[in-house]
């Protein structure tokens, strides 16, 4: 049962244009969402996050939008640059009841290619 889904395995965008990466989730108990970027032969790098009490978080060229009613989040990159070419994973966090700890569940990733 895939609780976090990224339905687009790949995306190509022209340099300077907007990249939009999408993620859907099924578990309404998720309360914290993150985006990670992964280059080949490296571990995922934290990019941006959003709490379930917000609907938007912005950091420079990166903005994450959360639509809780649709159980959908998206990452917008504006303007896209060739260095943004990587695999992007969304992740969702759920607290373990009573333990104070959280578990993170990852999507399958979207490979973004920014064309110069």
């Amino acid at each position: 049962d895939q609780q976090v889904k990224q339905n687009s395995p790949s995306l190509s965008v022209q340099e300077g244009r907007i990249s939009i990466l999408n993620c859907d989730y099924t578990n309404s108990m998720f309360d914290y969402f993150l985006w990670y970027k992964k280059y080949p032969a490296e571990g995922p790098t934290f990019l941006i996050s959003i709490s379930s009490i917000k609907d938007k978080n912005e950091d420079g060229r990166f903005t994450v939008f959360l639509n809780k009613s649709a159980k959908h989040l998206s990452l917008h990159i504006v303007p896209s640059q060739p260095g943004d070419s990587a695999v992007y994973f969304c992740a969702a966090s759920e607290g373990f009841l009573g333990s104070g700890t959280y578990k993170y569940i990852f999507g399958t990733g979207t490979r973004l290619k920014v064309l110069a």
């Binding site: 309360d31 571990g43 995922p44 934290f46 709490s51 994973f89 333990s99 700890t101 990852f106």
Partner: protein, 116 residues
């Protein structure tokens, strides 16, 4: 701040052999995670430690996989005996707190395991 250190970077073994991976988290990070990432998939949590106690090992194949985190710092993940389907990248991550808001995961570069 130094990142999460993992070794070795690559390992090739034959099926039924054993292998061990080592992880040194970011200094001061209480929570340590081992993820398995099979090609084309997102990272899947194998085991999560808080300090030196196990928080979640529900997806760890305990008949062949074991992990420990001595003194709440370094951790080792062992596979014995290995199967072909264990071929994957094994990622170690750590977080400052117990996860959740304002406590994203920081990943190491992973160990790529090939079982022949």
């Amino acid at each position: 701040e130094a990142g999460v250190a993992q070794s070795p970077r690559y390992k090739i073994i034959e099926k039924r052999q054993s292998v061990a991976f080592w992880c040194n988290p970011i200094s001061g990070h209480a929570t340590l995670y081992w993820y398995q990432q099979i090609l084309g998939q997102g990272p899947k949590l194998l085991i999560q430690f808080q300090n030196n106690g196990v928080v979640d090992d529900s997806q760890l194949p305990k008949d062949r996989f074991s992990a420990e985190r001595l003194k709440g710092v370094d951790s080792t993940l062992k596979i014995q005996p290995a199967k072909l389907e264990d071929s994957a990248v094994y990622l170690c991550a750590s977080s400052l707190g117990t996860g959740g808001r304002n406590s994203p995961l920081h990943f190491g570069n992973g160990t790529r395991l090939t079982v022949t």
